[in-house]
């Protein structure tokens, strides 16, 4: 039979009374304002017994120009699941600047919940590594899977760091080529440099 995980709708209602308009409910998903995510998670873990962080994933909604972080929390006694969503403004040109000790400031910011759920430590580092979402208060906000000197965040929809030259969407590349557009694959860079020269000559 198809697995149906029972969603804790009553808990979503309680959250709305407790936190007021910070929480909207979209279907059975609680959409949380991104600054209150840590408070909500602490409340859920301590009072409501959602002790198991089942999943923390980031989704790049490029059409709505938003970045969404989804939390799936599971309570082991009540055997119920609750889904929290936090929508962040999307940083179009992943322009966040990483200082030497890898402290980055940028638009996609979110309080980290690794103090409440220590299991979220690596999940958040992976979300930062592949999407560029910065989790404030995270003990070790560095890249997890890619090389330290990797430029760009590959899982974003507009990042073509791995696409071979013949598949690249040139309109988008040209639109971005006026500012710093660094890619990691040698084949693509030469192609883009050539395109840029033609553009300068054409002008």
């Amino acid at each position: 039979m198809i697995q149906n995980l029972s969603i804790a709708k009553d808990v979503v209602e309680e959250l709305k009374e407790k936190f007021g308009d910070v929480i909207q409910s979209e279907g059975d998903v609680a959409v949380v304002n991104e600054d209150f995510i840590a408070k909500v998670c602490k409340y859920l873990k301590n009072e409501k017994g959602f002790d198991h962080l089942s999943n923390l994933s980031a989704v790049d909604l490029i059409k709505q120009n938003m970045m969404c972080v989804v939390y799936h929390l599971w309570s082991t006694e009540k055997k119920q699941l609750i889904i929290l969503k936090a929508f962040l403004p999307r940083d179009p040109t992943d322009k966040h600047v990483c200082h030497e000790d890898d402290v980055c400031d940028g638009v996609q910011r979110l309080p980290s919940i690794s103090k409440i759920y220590p299991a979220a430590d690596w999940h958040e580092r992976e979300a930062f590594d592949l999407f560029g979402i910065i989790f404030e208060g995270h003990p070790n906000m560095k890249r997890l899977l890619l090389k330290e000197d990797w430029i760009g965040h590959p899982l974003r929809k507009d990042d073509e760091s791995g696409v071979p030259a013949y598949q690249i969407d040139w309109k988008l590349a040209m639109m971005r080529s006026n500012d710093k557009f660094v890619l990691n694959m040698g084949s693509i860079n030469q192609k883009l440099e050539k395109m840029k020269e033609e553009k300068e000559d054409g002008k």
Binding site: L146, K147, P154, G162, P164, M185
Partner: protein, 165 residues
């Protein structure tokens, strides 16, 4: 003078063949496996198709004791410098077996941003074993072919320092 020339050629021939005979039968691969092909490499050493029948003993845990490195599993950009250094740490008569589609041309992950498309860019590969993952019998057959190659190997190959001679 001719006798000395003949004698010297005979001795060089004899030692060369003896060395090649020794190298081919005592064939210690480096225990290096990253992904799914490593499981099939272990299955090759398991009792069903026992690699030790041909002298292939998975005993060398350091590059110093290894003769051949069977690159089993996808190599991505973070692993590439490590693999190159491992190859350089191995003592000289050494061979490289590229096992699995990921080593030959990137395999199912060829258009990944982080995956190295084939290891013959930075390693001199002797034997390619296609398959994803290749069956243990394929790998054993490939190693036996490599052993045959070694038997006919020429000593000149190592003096010139160019493994592709």
């Amino acid at each position: 003078m001719i006798v000395v020339g003949q004698l010297e050629k005979l001795i060089k021939n004899l030692t060369g063949n003896l060395a090649n005979w020794g190298r081919s039968w005592s064939f210690w691969p480096l225990t290096f496996g990253t992904a799914c092909c490593a499981i099939e490499m272990m299955a090759m050493a398991s009792p069903r198709n026992d690699a030790e029948r041909h002298g292939i003993l998975f005993f060398a845990s350091t590059p110093r004791h290894a003769d051949v490195v069977i690159v089993a599993g996808t190599i991505n950009e973070k692993m590439k410098p490590r693999l190159r250094r491992l190859y350089e740490q191995m003592p000289d008569p050494k061979w490289v077996v590229a096992m699995g589609a990921c080593e030959i041309g990137g395999g199912p992950f060829w258009n990944g941003y982080n995956v190295e498309k084939g290891i013959d860019g930075f390693l001199p590969v002797d034997i390619y074993v296609p398959g994803c993952p290749p069956r243990p019998e394929n790998l054993l057959e490939a190693l036996i072919q490599l052993q045959k190659l070694i038997k006919k190997d020429s000593m000149a190959r190592y003096k010139s320092g160019n493994p592709h001679l």
